[in-house]
């Protein structure tokens, strides 16, 4: 099954090698330390069969796990970042950083957008890629999310966004900040159009992205133990001058505090999202507009054979 394949096997970094990136056939689990055979990890969608640790995966891989097989068609692929600030950090100009990230990941920027089906339901899907400059949101990521919202409205699709991000991209300065407002504001249109938005938080989903569309899903799901928070732990520790409680800003903590609907194992994510979409699909007679016809093939609902997910011990 080609869609289970990890597309790139090594992301070069000069200093310490990343433990989440396999060097050879064996990968040490960050969760339990177990040495795992790469094919075993792939079979388990890059989760540890011993401790359920969820490894970070590139956007393409995540799409393979979430979308129905062979249904994803990329859109807005021609979008590429510019350097409006002529930003230069201690070592490199921003365009050089971009080029390096593009070479490392084979992606143009930190998100892939497109259309797909999940459980047979038409969705506009945006998946962020943490391996591209920390999944940071600049103008391109913001524009992809914006267009995904607009075309979801125009084509009557659900919106599904998988976040994997450290927040806004500093190298685009205030323009990155404005992507928070741009994407969040457009969600008004999605709500008015009565189309569902499922926001999936993978590790990590933080800062500016969490302070915009990622928090605004009609249903918010998270992968187990994903880091979900606004401010960095180090900054908070400095501010309050004390240690943070165990599990702070992990998905389980955030679920307990009431900002996530469900924590879902990666292996169950497609089924869960399918089930949730089915609910809205039925209630809108195939994502039909108010008083209009669905542009999709909508058959009057048949009783579901399995009653859907939700009974699994692994999902909450």
């Amino acid at each position: 099954m080609t869609w289970l394949k990890r597309e790139r096997t090594g992301i070069k970094k000069k200093k310490e090698p990343r433990s989440d990136v396999p060097e050879g056939l064996w990968t040490k689990c960050e969760g339990c330390g177990e040495a795992l055979f790469q094919t075993v990890l792939e079979e388990n969608l890059w989760t540890c069969p011993h401790c359920d640790h969820h490894f970070r995966v590139p956007a393409r891989t995540a799409i393979g796990y979430l979308a129905d097989p062979d249904t994803f068609t990329e859109r807005f692929a021609g979008l590429e970042a510019l350097d409006p600030l002529e930003f230069r950090d201690a070592k490199l100009p921003y365009p050089e950083r971009l080029k390096a990230a593009q070479q490392e990941t084979g992606q143009k920027d930190a998100a892939l957008a497109g259309v797909a089906t999940i459980g047979g339901k038409p969705v506009n899907l945006v998946v962020m890629d943490f391996f591209f400059m920390g999944g940071s949101m600049g103008s391109v990521v913001g524009e992809k999310v914006a267009r995904a919202i607009e075309t979801a409205v125009a084509e009557r699709r659900a919106l599904v966004i998988v976040s994997a991000t450290g927040g806004a991209r500093m190298q685009e300065g205030i323009l990155s900040l404005m992507q928070l407002a741009k994407t969040s504001a457009l969600l008004v249109r999605l709500q008015e159009a009565r189309l569902p938005f499922v926001s999936i938080l993978s590790d990590p989903s933080t800062a500016g992205v969490l302070a915009s569309f990622a928090s605004l899903g009609d249903v918010v799901l998270a992968e187990p133990k994903a880091l979900v928070g606004f401010a960095g732990a180090r900054v908070i520790r400095q501010t309050i001058g004390e240690e943070l409680p165990p599990g702070f800003q992990r998905a389980e903590f955030v679920l307990e505090k009431g900002f996530i609907d469900r924590i879902v194992h990666r292996k169950r994510m497609r089924d869960e999202v399918s089930h949730i979409l089915e609910f809205f699909w039925r209630s809108t007679r195939g994502f039909a507009p108010d008083g209009g016809e669905s542009p999709h093939a909508f058959r009057p609902a048949l009783p579901s054979a399995d009653g859907g997910p939700g009974t699994s011990a692994r999902s909450r």
Binding site: E74, R75, F76, A77, G78, L79, E80, A81, P84, L85, F87, D89, A90, S139, V140, G142, E143, A146, A168, M170, E172, G173, I174, L175, S176, L177, M178, Q179, L180, A181, K182, S184, A185, L186, L187, V188, R189, A207, G208, L210, A211, S212, F213, A214, S215, L216, G229, F230, A231, G232, V235, I236, T239, I240, L244, F248, Q249, K257, G258, F259
Partner: protein, 320 residues
């Protein structure tokens, strides 16, 4: 007591000399002599010179100046009938955001602003102007109240950022900001924002999704503080001045990038040199903007606001 910034030192020395000479002249019962006139002329020229060539980081320092007028200083001078309203109705009242009813000339407006403290005690209470989620939820409550009555909303931005605390995380700081961004977008009433000091990232934006965004000439607005940026990208928080250059966070930069709609001039030496004059500038600007927006329908205001933010971003697109 005056507070002098490092780059103001040449002016400070002249001013101290002028004060000394004045005191001496008064003691001797003498008229101001030629030397004094000459010194004053030089001090003025020097100040103009320094303030005409401010670096981005010097503007950061001015935006954070401990004597800079804060939201309540403007509210007191620009409006009448100020009636502060408190609380988010869920958890607490956040003193880092003030909001309430006011009259601008005869016109009712809802005014909301981040509020820093003037001394240590007040700063502890107001968390140096860094709001908690309940602050943003209070702000939204007041904005929605204004929206129902078609009362214009005026927001005054002055925050280092949303508060990075344990409780803030537990109560959903990110969610509070995100909801404000979406809900401000659909408010069917005019919204005018003035960045009066620091526009610190999402914590500032959460009350700044406005039809018109204005900035004082020595205010800043940025995705991250220069020090925070420097500690990440330069691995040295002391490289803030370099990061401030790189981030393009001054009013002049932001006008050039099309992010803000106008720059309000400050009195020479910064808003803190003449709070009354600065407030008069703010007041005149708000009156003008609200006049311009007064005939616009609610849905049209939403359309324009959405369109304004929808257009933000710089990228290229090749045929896929």
């Amino acid at each position: 007591m005056s507070v002098w910034l490092d780059f103001e030192k040449p002016v400070m020395e002249l001013e101290l000399k002028i004060q000394e000479l004045r005191a001496h002249a008064a003691e001797q019962g003498l008229e101001a002599d030629d030397q004094l006139v000459e010194l004053e002329r030089r001090a003025d020229a020097l100040r103009r010179d320094i303030y005409a060539r401010l670096t981005p980081y010097q503007r950061v320092q001015l935006a954070r100046h401990p004597r800079r007028p804060y939201a309540l200083d403007y509210i007191e001078r620009c409006f009448t009938g100020w009636t502060e309203l408190h609380g988010d109705r869920h958890f607490a009242d956040d003193p880092a955001i003030v909001g309430g009813l006011a009259l601008l000339e005869a016109r009712p407006v809802m005014v909301i602003g981040q509020q820093k403290g003037r001394d240590t005690k007040e700063n502890l209470m107001r968390r140096f102007g860094m709001p908690n989620p309940e602050g943003y939820r209070k702000a939204l409550r007041l904005m929605q109240l204004a929206g129902r009555f078609h009362v214009p909303v005026v927001t005054l931005v002055d925050t280092p950022g949303a508060y990075p605390g344990l409780g803030a995380e537990e109560r959903g700081q990110a969610e509070a900001i995100a909801v404000n961004l979406r809900e401000m977008a659909r408010l069917e009433t005019p919204i005018v924002t003035v960045v009066i000091g620091e526009g610190g990232s999402g914590g500032a934006l959460a009350i700044a999704v406005a039809n018109v965004v204005l900035m004082f000439e020595n205010s800043i607005y940025s995705v991250i503080s220069p020090e925070g940026c420097a500690s990440i990208l330069w691995r040295d928080g002391k490289k803030g001045p370099l990061a401030a250059e790189a981030l393009k966070l001054t009013a002049q930069d932001l006008l050039g990038l099309g992010i803000v709609d106008g720059i309000l001039p400050e009195p020479l030496g910064g808003a803190h040199r003449d709070a009354a004059a600065a407030a008069a500038t703010v007041r005149a600007a708000i009156v003008r903007q609200l006049d311009d927006l007064s005939g616009v329908s609610g849905p049209e205001l939403v359309e324009r606001r959405l369109g304004k933010f929808r257009g933000m971003g710089v990228f290229k697109e090749s045929p896929a």
